[in-house]
């Protein structure tokens, strides 16, 4: 007598793609997040295109100064006769796509100043927050005291001090964004770590005899990633905000690459004779920051709904 082999229906484990799609559908579930994502992607695409092609070279004065939008220059020209659309597109690069290293070689690393600044803040914030939250005691006291001191600095003052202390450069702005972003992320990670460390799987890991750093980085951090990533998205927005402000104040990213903040600052001087010039770069900064904010906001709402 033969027994039919038992078959168990094992649902195929979801592939990477389908999981990524699940995450994406979370975005599309929220209309706000979708709108935000579309705006951000629009700028991202414009930036990537500008790496290979812009309507005209962004730094050369090819046209009459201060032209209104017309069929040749879709967004007009600036006070030096440069095409505003080309400059606007290229302005995305320093913020989102490339960071220039100091030195004569003109080397760049992929990933914009805002992105690297936030990555730096994520790194230091996570390390400090995890140590404060998981280890507690003196670690917590000392780390939080130092971070409180950092928070007490108004961000703009910190930026001014750091940027006057060092030479103008992309890496200095990255550093400034990292320093100002670290306390906030550390606080968030700490509160998440305080919550997660009471869970059973942490107890299990401790019983297994795992080292504190294993528990912090392999057990706690992956489970805290949702809110941290949403916060990081918001912070990229703040970073672009800050870069724009620094550029506007004349102490931001160094020339010659176009930077939206300094474009506004340049155009502002001609505001009474040619008021159009300030509008495109202003709208660019505002729309990108608003896009990131909408995206983060929508995501937070969706994630919150998930957790309920």
């Amino acid at each position: 007598m033969t027994v039919a082999p038992q078959t168990i229906d094992v649902p195929p484990s979801p592939s990477r793609w389908s999981r990524a799609w699940d995450n994406l559908s979370l975005v599309f579930a929220s209309r706000i997040a979708t709108v935000g994502l579309v705006i951000v992607l629009l700028w991202l695409v414009l930036g990537i295109v500008s790496l290979f092609w812009t309507p005209y070279p962004p730094n050369s004065s090819l046209f009459t100064q201060n032209l209104m939008p017309n069929s040749t220059n879709w967004l007009g020209t600036d006070h030096l006769g440069r095409d505003i659309l080309s400059r606007l597109m290229a302005g995305t690069q320093v913020v989102l796509l490339k960071t220039r290293l100091p030195g004569e070689n003109g080397w760049v690393i992929p990933g914009g100043v805002a992105v690297w600044g936030v990555i730096g803040a994520l790194f230091f914030g996570s390390v400090l927050g995890l140590n404060a939250g998981y280890r507690g005691g003196w670690w917590d006291q000392i780390i939080m005291q130092v971070l409180d001191a950092l928070v007490a600095f108004p961000a703009i003052v910190l930026y001014l001090v750091i940027i006057t202390a060092f030479e103008q450069g992309d890496l200095v702005v990255v550093f400034a964004i990292t320093v100002t972003g670290t306390p906030g992320i550390a606080r968030l990670v700490r509160s998440l770590a305080l919550d997660i460390k009471t869970r059973d799987y942490i107890r299990a890991a401790e019983t297994r005899g795992e080292s504190p750093s294993y528990i912090m980085f392999r057990e706690i951090l992956p489970n805290a990633r949702g809110p941290v990533l949403v916060d990081a998205t918001l912070r990229v927005g703040y970073a672009i905000f800050a870069i724009g402000t620094l550029g506007f104040l004349g102490i931001g990213l160094p020339p010659p690459d176009p930077d939206w903040g300094s474009m506004v600052n340049d155009a502002r001087r001609f505001i009474f004779v040619f008021s159009w010039g300030v509008i495109p770069p202003s709208v660019a900064i505002a729309s990108l920051v608003i896009g990131l904010n909408l995206f983060a906001d929508g995501m937070r709402e969706e994630l919150g709904r998930y957790q309920k």
Binding site: I32, Q145, V146, D148, A149, V151, A152, F153, P154, A155, I156, V157, L160, V161, I162, I163, T164, A165, F166, G237, F241, G244, T245, F248, L249, G250, I251, G261, V264, R268, I271, F272, S275, V278, I279, S282, I285, A286, V289, I290, L292, N293, L294, D297
Partner: protein, 432 residues
């Protein structure tokens, strides 16, 4: 409660100490050679070196940090051997340092290798006479004397050393064979409200800072008075109508306003009201120190910009808090027992909903300060923000440190007040 207050006070003091040290050493590391900026690039290295000495920049960093924090007169008194006192100069309104000897106030000055004594008269003027001072024997046949000069420094004059030094006076540089070798700029230190002299203007920081602080307080205070009721009103409206189009408009509008950088908002307001319609002045240039009171119109656009930036944030906070409270069981109970909606909102929801915004607004002062710096830079408004901005650009450590510390103190103090207010208003919270 008392324990909580003591603990947060200690924490605040610690915070301030860490911040002051960090600030000082940050500027120490980077600000470059400030003497180049003051003297210009035409100055020779010798002149710069002498001027560094004259500014007291050759002392070790920790020493200058202590001077900055607690004053240098302790150290100078030990060197001079006489008590040093400050007297207010009636004509400049600034403090002057004098050494007190036998009931007289004296200073010294050196011309062509000769030391003269200035004795202060009751009317503020001084009488010059050849100095009768005890020169002390120094190394290799030189002799030296510690005194106070007319520029508020404790100075070590030396004769017979045969070295030449450059001395910077109001008229320019002078080369001297015998002369001042070491300087201790006299100051009372930040703890005693004296932040030293601005290297950019040569005037005491504490004198020039206050008018700026007043201007900024007027600007920020006006914006605050407009923002608070308006934002709370909009937030409450959005909160009780959660999910409706009113809520959407207020929420997304608020988000857009918050996410738009201050300078963009400012530029657009200038464009609309200053350039196209020409109803308000587009810049806030002060023609006299009291220009705000003479021409209040100058304030309109700066206040409007600051309001626009703050409005969205506070409104969103109030809305979130209101939404949370409206979902609470006791609100449902009130609704079920038939209480009119208006009364529920006014009597039960509002008080609880306003708790969170109050603390968050207090924590938000840092953000407000950032806004103030940018707004003042856009409009050329002479306040604390533009002061710190121009000082930072110049690399004037005394001015940057003083202004930044003031902002930090404001930020820390408001946070303390926020914490305390939250505790008083919310009896459920207990701090250990």
């Amino acid at each position: 409660m008392a324990r909580f207050i003591v603990r947060s006070l200690i924490s605040a003091v610690l915070t301030m100490l860490i911040v002051s040290a960090a600030l000082f050493f940050f500027l120490e590391v980077g600000s470059g050679d400030v003497t180049v900026k003051i003297l210009g690039i035409e100055s020779t290295p010798e002149q710069r070196a002498s001027y560094r000495t004259q500014l007291g920049l050759n002392a070790p960093a920790w020493q200058r940090y202590l001077d900055w924090l607690a004053g240098s007169d302790w150290r100078a008194e030990r060197a001079v051997g006489l008590p040093l006192v400050t007297v207010r100069n009636e004509s400049t309104d600034e403090a002057e340092w004098w050494a007190e000897r036998d009931g007289e106030l004296v200073r010294w000055t050196m011309r062509d290798g000769e030391l003269y004594q200035l004795t202060r008269q009751a009317d503020g003027s001084s009488v010059e006479s050849p100095a009768d001072v005890a020169w002390q024997e120094g190394e290799n046949g030189a002799s030296y004397f510690w005194g106070v000069d007319a520029d508020n420094n404790a100075v070590m004059w030396m004769r017979g050393a045969g070295e030449t030094v450059w001395v910077r006076t109001k008229a320019g540089f002078r080369k001297e064979g015998d002369g001042p070798r070491e300087y201790i700029p006299l100051r009372k230190g930040l703890l005693r409200f004296d932040a030293g002299k601005s290297l950019q203007t040569g005037r005491p920081v504490s004198v020039t800072l206050w008018p700026r602080v007043r201007n900024t307080l007027i600007l920020a205070g006006l914006a605050f008075l407009i923002v608070m009721p308006l934002a709370v009103f909009l937030g409450v409206i959005a909160g009780i109508n959660e999910g409706t189009w009113i809520d959407r408009v207020i929420s997304i509008g608020g988000l857009a306003l918050t996410a738009t950088p201050e300078f963009v908002t400012g530029i657009f307001l200038i464009l609309i009201f200053g350039v196209w319609w020409r109803v308000f002045p587009a810049v806030a240039i002060f023609t006299s120190p009291n220009a705000i009171f003479e021409k209040p119109m100058l304030l309109v656009l700066p206040v409007m910009t600051l309001t626009a930036v703050e409005l969205g944030y506070v409104a969103r906070m109030t809305r979130a808090s209101m939404v949370e409270v409206m979902e609470a069981p006791y609100i449902r109970t009130a609704a079920i027992k038939g209480m009119p909606r208006r009364r529920i909102v006014m009597r039960h929801a509002l008080r609880n909903a306003l708790l969170a915004p109050i603390t968050i607004i207090m924590l938000h002062v840092n953000w407000l300060i950032g806004g103030v710096v940018v707004v003042e830079a856009i409009f050329g408004y002479p306040g604390l923000g533009s002061y710190i901005y121009s000082a930072a650009i110049f690399g004037d450590p005394n001015a940057v440190e003083a202004a930044a510390m003031l902002l930090v103190i404001i930020a820390v103090a408001t946070r303390l007040i926020g914490d305390a207010a939250y505790m008083l208003l919310n009896p459920r919270i207990r701090y250990s």
